[in-house]
């Protein structure tokens, strides 16, 4: 026999109350002087014969208390079969809060069904029972730890604030935690989770505790079939700072988590929430495809780009967003050595010419580019940090005079968010570069030597059309603007092993690094294995020259804080200069705004939401001045760790059910029916009441007999 509400059994101790009352009243007896002691003794002699009856009366009173307690505890007779339960033990609800629970039609997702079933489940527990709620979210945590049910309504209300979080669920890890908590106690564990194979991975290896029985119930609400389940796993723009009206290339990675191939799935691009373009993609099950989309921004400022798929089994992972800063112009400062006055002694001449070409206005006879401002100016004197502050990109090449002071100024410039292009042409002194820029941390890779080949010779080097690292120069691999493999470089720098944190963006055809990038502070240093000029190469006559130039300069200008971050990563925005915003707050979807903390940083004020946000999407920081405001878009992209809805295969399911002794149900009604069917005995509640009434009648009869 067991009890529906065994916690009431503590009240059995109240059974001593009649005994205590007996002795208390006896102790507090009324003193009376008595004369008729003879009569009293004769009566007492008869009463002693009734002592047994008195004892019986006391026992009856104790029994009344005990049976009353038993009535409240609701005795039930049932065996301890796994399916037989319904109450009386510590209950733990393990709720799968991973985003795969959002699979299904809106309003009827697996999560909606799971929550409704869980509400019914916890609402069936009466007052005084103990339960816990373990939520497998980000991070997995106890929402309720061994809480007493006050009212079923209150228990249900505790579930209201919960919603799936952007994470994957591991029942095995959750059960390890939960079973440690339940050690030494009779426990019922209700697993409210979908049948996702990833969720149930390694469950059969969970070590079950010895001792009191732990019973498992699995409430698995039906979600959606896994037939069509694509996800946008990644969205990257080639640069986070691009020029207005200038092509920006977006790379959208789409993965097919479904069981069937998907043909011509449409990927929509949205800029600032408005439709921009659409591309089709076909993906095989378990495969990924990258869709490359060109996006152009008409207006300078902050913009948000979203890649979106049509609705499928799991809508949550069908979109990804990225933030981008569109610049009206790219200010390029080329450091020149005044001692070297030759036209092609540095990149300045070439870049100034390129700038002029690229800034031809509409109406000119043959504009090379429709828009985009490239303002190139040379810095003749040795600049300090203040002189560099206004430039988006600073270019250093063989025509620049390198001094320790300049290295310090460059370091401060880069740390403050500036972009530095180191163009290692054939006139540089590798030793001086390695000696000055290397110790300052400004060299992504050491320059080993300068290689040369006579113009027209056969031992030139060419860029590779594949093997691009990252997206910065990846646009060049499509050959839309010319085949970079047809480039011929007759002088080059042999770069050594990239430093820690450095990335090779492009390589020569022989695999040697051509462009190596490294973030330093808030800025970026881009080291090119060639000069930005038209000496010793054929760049000037190739169509890809200007795209290459733009991409190189944009890659270098992509300094500052990132506009696309992962959930949990800090959201930062750097204001350069005085008169920064008075307040900044971050919003994402319908979530309440979060205020960004501000602190002084190099050259300005850094606004930061250190904890970041816990969910993917297109977020924005609203910057407020006294007389104006501005919105800065951020893309939050999480890992698609829970997109695979592949269900447990029957064998794994059988093993898990066997290991845990699972009782499965797809709804509360089914679970309730199974719980009730598990009763092999009957509830003794009415018998307990009958016994109580009988004992009460006996007590009253005994009392009456004495009076």
């Amino acid at each position: 026999m067991s009890f529906v509400h065994p916690m009431f059994l503590w009240a059995l101790a109240l059974g001593v109350i009649p005994v205590l009352i007996y002795y208390l009243i006896r102790f507090r007896s009324l003193p009376v002087e008595w004369g008729a002691v003879y009569v009293l003794q004769r009566a007492l002699n008869r009463l002693r014969r009734k002592n047994l009856e008195q004892l019986l009366l006391l026992v009856l009173r104790v029994l009344i208390v005990l049976v009353l307690v038993a009535v409240f505890a609701r005795p039930v007779s049932r065996n301890r079969a796994p399916a037989a339960t319904g109450g009386g033990t510590h209950r733990i609800v393990v709720l799968d809060g991973s985003y795969s629970m959002l699979a299904g039609e809106r309003g009827a997702t697996a999560w909606d069904r799971a929550l409704a079933a869980t509400r019914d489940l916890v609402g069936s527990w009466g007052r005084g029972e103990r339960w816990s709620l373990y939520f497998i979210g980000r991070p997995p945590r106890w929402i309720l730890d061994d809480r007493v049910v006050e009212t079923p309504e209150r228990s249900r209300a505790l579930l209201e604030g919960l919603e799936p979080e952007e994470c994957a669920a591991s029942l095995a890890q959750a059960l390890d935690t939960v079973l440690r908590k339940s050690a030494g106690r009779e426990t019922e564990i209700y697993l409210v989770a979908d049948d996702q194979a990833a969720t149930w991975k390694d469950v059969e290896r969970v070590k079950l505790p010895a001792g009191p029985a732990v019973r498992f119930f699995w409430l698995h609400p039906a979600g959606a079939a896994n037939a069509n389940n694509l996800a946008v796993t990644r969205l990257r723009l080639n640069h986070e700072r691009v020029l207005a009206r200038h092509p920006c290339r977006a790379f959208v990675t789409v993965r097919n988590y479904g069981a069937a191939p998907v043909e011509n799935a449409e990927v929509e691009m949205l800029v600032d929430g408005s439709f921009s373009s659409r591309e089709a993609v076909s993906v095989q099950p378990g495969q990924e495809a990258v869709v490359v989309v060109d996006v152009a921004f008409e207006e300078p400022g902050s913009h948000g780009v979203t890649a979106r798929l049509r609705k499928d089994a799991l809508e949550f992972d069908n979109a990804a967003a990225a933030g981008v800063e569109v610049l009206p112009a790219l200010d390029v400062a080329v450091l020149r050595d005044p001692a070297r006055a030759g036209k092609f002694d540095s990149a300045a001449g070439f870049l100034e010419l390129a700038g002029k070409v690229m800034t031809r206005k509409a109406g000119d006879e043959s504009p090379l580019f429709a828009g985009g401002q490239l303002a190139v100016h040379g810095l003749e004197k040795e600049p300090d940090a203040a002189a560099l502050a206004g430039a988006d990109v600073a270019v250093v090449d063989g025509g620049s005079a390198l001094t320790p002071r300049l290295a310090q100024a460059l370091d401060a410039y880069v740390r403050g968010g500036g972009g530095l292009v180191l163009a290692a042409d054939d006139t540089i002194d590798p030793a001086a570069w390695n000696g000055l820029l290397g110790p300052a941390g400004l060299l992504p890779a050491p320059v080993r030597a300068i290689g040369r080949e006579a113009l027209g010779g056969e031992r030139f080097r060419s860029l590779a059309r594949s093997g691009f690292g990252g997206e910065a120069l990846k646009a060049l691999e499509t050959a839309e603007d010319g085949d970079v493999a047809r480039s011929r470089l007759y002088s080059w720098a042999d770069l050594g092993e990239p430093a820690a944190g450095a990335a090779v963006l492009a390589t020569f055809g022989d695999g040697r690094p051509f462009a190596v990038s490294r973030r330093r502070g808030a800025g970026t240093v881009l080291l090119l294995a060639t000069g930005l000029n038209s000496r010793n190469n054929n760049l000037l006559v190739r169509g890809f020259t200007y795209p290459l130039l733009f991409n190189v300069l944009s890659a270098a200008a992509a300094g500052g804080e990132p506009r696309t971050v992962a959930p949990g990563e800090p959201v930062r925005w750097l204001w350069k200069g005085p008169d920064g915003p008075t307040a900044a707050q971050f919003t994402l979807g319908a979530r309440p705004p979060a205020v960004l903390a501000s602190r002084p940083a190099a050259g300005g004020t850094l606004f930061e939401l250190a904890a970041g946000t816990d969910r993917s999407g297109l977020g924005s920081v609203l910057l407020t001045w006294k007389d104006r405001h501005r919105r800065v878009w951020f893309g939050i992209q999480g890992e698609r760790s829970d997109s695979d809805l592949a269900p447990l295969d029957p064998e794994a399911r059988r093993r898990a059910a066997e290991h845990l002794g699972l009782t499965e149900a797809a709804s509360w009604e089914e679970l309730k029916a199974k719980l009730e069917a598990g009763y092999r005995g009957a509830e003794w509640h009415h018998w307990a009441i009958l016994i109580l009434l009988a004992v009460l009648a006996g007590e009253m009869a005994m009392q009456r007999r004495f009076v």
Partner: protein
């Protein structure tokens, strides 16, 4: 002979015999139901044959008989000398035996049992002395047994009242001793009035009472009941302290005991009544809350009725 009057009517003595009680008792008389035996001439028939106006029988003359008692008329008719015998009227001797054990201190009826017993004794003494009979007093308890020999003098009432008033109830019951002493002392036959609550072990007392009755005394039992002792109005745990035995206690749950006690109380009373009826002893029982003079008046009327039937 003037009516005996206590010197004081106020204070303890006056409390025992109030003027109202005296007025109520003034017209009552206690006659002996059995043959009285006394030295004084009085209103009660005596076993002694002697001087009286009431003829009893004739007896043959024996030498030595006073010639003045010869019934000459009867002797002439039968030619044999007969002597006239008359029933001698004598004074009644009443001995009042008052139980002054500590159990008589029960006082839930407004007056303690002992006070009511004293009032009964005082009233009887007044009544008896008022009809020129002899009255004595025995006050008995384990603490002291007080004897006041029967007298018919006026001061006897005062002595009795003083004895009753000056001695309170105390100690264990010695009624059996008192009665045994009466048996052993002998003395003139008369009335033995025993005034007590009779809530004690009865066998020894009954043995002595029956001996007195056998000797020729008339025994009257006055039982005074305490309402609380009779009703037993308790419904909780009570620690009963024995009045007669210091330190003796009974801690009892009175709820189951109440019915048993009441039954036993009535049984004890019934046993006394049955025993008294068996020995032709009057058993007068009344609650301490009642009026003593009314009880005595009722009893005297009852007794007069009995005597009248004879």
């Amino acid at each position: 002979m003037p009516t005996p009057t206590p010197n004081r009517t106020a204070g303890p003595l006056g409390e025992l015999l109030t003027p109202e009680a005296r007025d109520a008792l003034k017209h009552l008389e206690l006659f002996a139901r059995r043959m009285a035996q006394g030295l004084l001439y009085g209103a009660h028939r005596s076993r002694r044959k002697g001087v009286s106006t009431e003829f009893d029988h004739h007896k043959l003359y024996q030498p030595g008989d006073p010639l003045k008692h010869v019934d000459w008329k009867a002797s002439a008719r039968h030619d044999t000398y007969y002597v006239k015998r008359h029933i001698e009227d004598t004074a009644l001797t009443v001995r009042l035996v008052v139980d002054r054990s500590a159990s008589m201190l029960q006082d839930s009826g407004g007056a303690s049992l002992y006070l009511q017993a004293s009032r009964v004794a005082a009233s009887l003494a007044y009544l008896i002395l008022n009809q020129r009979d002899l009255v004595g007093l025995v006050l008995g308890s384990a603490e002291e047994v007080f004897w006041l020999p029967p007298r018919a003098v006026e001061a006897q009432l005062v002595r009795i009242l003083q004895a009753l008033a000056s001695r309170g109830a105390a100690g264990a019951d010695r009624l059996e001793f008192c009665l045994r002493s009466l048996v052993e002392r002998g003395g003139r036959l008369g009335v033995i009035a025993v005034i007590s609550d009779f809530t004690f072990e009865p066998d020894a007392v009954r043995r002595q009472l029956s001996r007195l009755q056998a000797q020729g005394h008339e025994v009257i039992l006055f039982q005074i009941r305490d309402p609380r002792e009779e009703e037993f109005p308790f419904s909780r745990w009570v620690r009963f302290r024995d009045r007669e035995t210091p330190g003796r206690e009974f801690r009892v749950d009175t709820v189951p005991l109440r019915r048993l006690y009441r039954e036993e109380y009535q049984a004890v009373m019934a046993e006394w009544r049955a025993w008294a009826r068996k020995y032709d002893i009057h058993f007068v029982s009344f609650q301490s809350s009642g009026s003593v003079s009314a009880v005595l008046a009722e009893y005297m009327a009852f007794r007069e009725g009995l005597l009248g039937k004879r």
